[in-house]
Every structure is written in structure tokens, then in C-alpha cells.
Subunit: 214 residues, 2 copies
Amino acid sequence: MKLYDYGFSSAAYRVRIALNLKGIAYDRASINLIKDGGQQHSAAYKAINPQELIPTLEVDGHAIGQSLAIIEYLDETYPLPALLPSYPLERARVRQIAYAIACDIHPINNISARQLLKEMGHSDDEILTKWYGYWIKRGFTAIETLLSGSTETGRFCHGDVVTLADICLVPQMANAYRFKVPVDAFPTLVRIDKACREYPAFAAAAPEKQVDAG
Amino acid sequence: MKLYDYGFSSAAYRVRIALNLKGIAYDRASINLIKDGGQQHSAAYKAINPQELIPTLEVDGHAIGQSLAIIEYLDETYPLPALLPSYPLERARVRQIAYAIACDIHPINNISARQLLKEMGHSDDEILTKWYGYWIKRGFTAIETLLSGSTETGRFCHGDVVTLADICLVPQMANAYRFKVPVDAFPTLVRIDKACREYPAFAAAAPEKQVDAG
């Protein structure tokens, strides 16, 4: 297996966590999203992932794009530890939380959206305060309500076992901290994020531990 | 089962297609995204779905938000017809296409993002041409390359059987047509969309067939 990865890509961060949790050894190719105008736009990488996004996982000559497609694949082929609960209603709850981050916060704040806002005349500061912070606050407010209002929430987003929801939460929290978006209003998220980061699988996947995070 | 639905919500459209394909009867509650400043923001609906987004599926007293979480749940509990292939690598391909739409086009163009752009000083026309059209074109370009370059593409996105990828494609194509975004450069997508819409399950789920689409 080979992961096309970048330290500060939070979608790639999710996959690093999943690979670590499963104990899967993998090769790594660094695709620097900043250098050379974004190495994800090179012809060579575009042939592997036409979306020109990180991550891609190469498996037996197949290239899988989209972090959540990769993680579902890993969970189906390396079942232990399971990243989704057994019962459909519980799996739905975990996926709901994961998608609330992976669909409704992350892509709207992604580098390509911020670049387009810049082209449309907005300053970095305006993008950060009026856009980036807005989507994190809006998304986290909903997820905090979902989590704090449910007895299904435990040490982690769903019970006391790490799931896909936590794998999405931790990189999104890292983005909030990195861009200094206040998180005091989200005590459940702060608590779960901390609990996750105590695990070696999460700690080793952190952006600052990757060789190309600088 | 009860679906909180709105005719012009393309995320809800996905769930309507899935319910129809599975032949599941359901009750429907209309949540008008335009009327009353957006009925999804009412206290009553917020208690059901803290993200204040459509759709939500109520099942046995549980409220599932996020269209893809709902569809995966339906596929796990009503296995036939299957909306994902059997083999993990094929499931990954279908999910990759689905998420390329559901994460990287749809939420960035959603009504709340367009509203925020308006608050940031952009005209409707500017939002349509510089933003909305941009994300559809960018996403469709990548998906057209993925599909046209693969022998796994058939009558539909993956082989000759409808999958989650088609369920995401058709509502996104409907948005492109509705907002007059040119699709000539995406012949594979145009062909698959047409093939899908010939099926009663897709046709009956179309926005213009819903009582609250006006």
C-alpha cells in the first residue's frame, strides 16, 4: 500500500489515523500542497487522482481517492479494530457525525475554496474570520449538541471505542487550533479530541509529526 | 419511517431515490428551505436535526441526519437491490465518486454557503458564475475523467447496476441544469444521468414531482 500524503492535509490525517489504528504498514509519497503551486496539480498526480486532492491510497494497482472511501475500504478489508459499530442505527449515528465534518465543514474550508475567495477579492483575514471560523463554529455547534444530548456518547463520539467519527473530529479540531478558532463553546468535542490524542495511533498521525509539515 | 424532505433539496433527492429503489413506503414531512426564513431553522426541526439541514429520516424514534448516512443505513437494513457492489475495491470506487459529489461539490454550493457569500458582498450573478458554476465544472471534470477512463464504467457509474454513485450524480446534474451550468464537456455524466432518469425510482424522486417544489 502506498499513501499519497501531506502533513497538513486533514483528509490525509484521517487516513493516517485509520492506518495506524489498524496497524497497517504502508509506503508514503509526499505531495506538497503549497510547493510548486501545489504538487497535487502535477500531470503525474492528476493521472492518479483526477480530483487533484490528497489523499490517494494505492492498493494492488488501484488508486482510491476520497479519505472516507479509503477508510471504509480499510475497515472492510482489515476488520480489526472495527471503525464502525455493528448495529445499523449505531453505524448511521457514527457516519452522521463523520459526514457533518467531512461534508459540511472540511470541503467548504479547504485550500481551494480559500483560494477562490481570495480571487473574488477577500483578504486572508476576512476569509479567516468571516468564512473559515464561521463554518467551524456552525458545524461544531451542531455536533456538540448531537454529542452532549445523547447517552450514546462516551469517552469517544460513540461509546468508549474509537470510530470513524473520532477519526474525522481530531483533524478538524487540529485545524481549529491551528487557525485559532475558539473552541471553548464545545466542551464535549474538546474532551473527546484530547482523549483520542492520548492514543499512539492518533499521536503518530498528527501533522507536526510528518516529515513534510513545515 | 418518516422523511423530512423538501422538493428542491438535492441531498433529500438522493434519499428519495434510494427509498424508491428499495421500494420502502414512508411518511413525508415537508420542510420548506425558503419559506419563513427557512423552516429547517425552526426550534422544532432543530431538535430533530441540530445541523438544521434536510433530509432527516426518522426510524423507530431515532433521527438520522446526513443523506449518505441514511442511504448506507437503508442499504444495510434493506439489502435488495444493493446500492453498493460486493467487493471492497469496487465499493471504494463507488464511494469515491459519491463523495466527490457529496463532499466536494454539493456542500460548497449549498444554500447556506450562497447566503454567506451574499452577506460578504457578492451578487447573485457573481455567485452563480464565479462560485456555483466553478465547483460543478471542477468536480464534473474530475468525475468525467474518472468515469470515461475506466472499463468499470458501464450503463451507470459502476457497471450496469445503479449504485450510490448514480444516486449522487443525478441530483447534482439536476442542479447543473436548473442553474444553467453547461454540461456539454461531460458526455459520460450526461449519458448516465439520462439512463438513470428512465427508471421510475429516479423519475418519481425528481424535484418537480414533489408537492412542495414551486
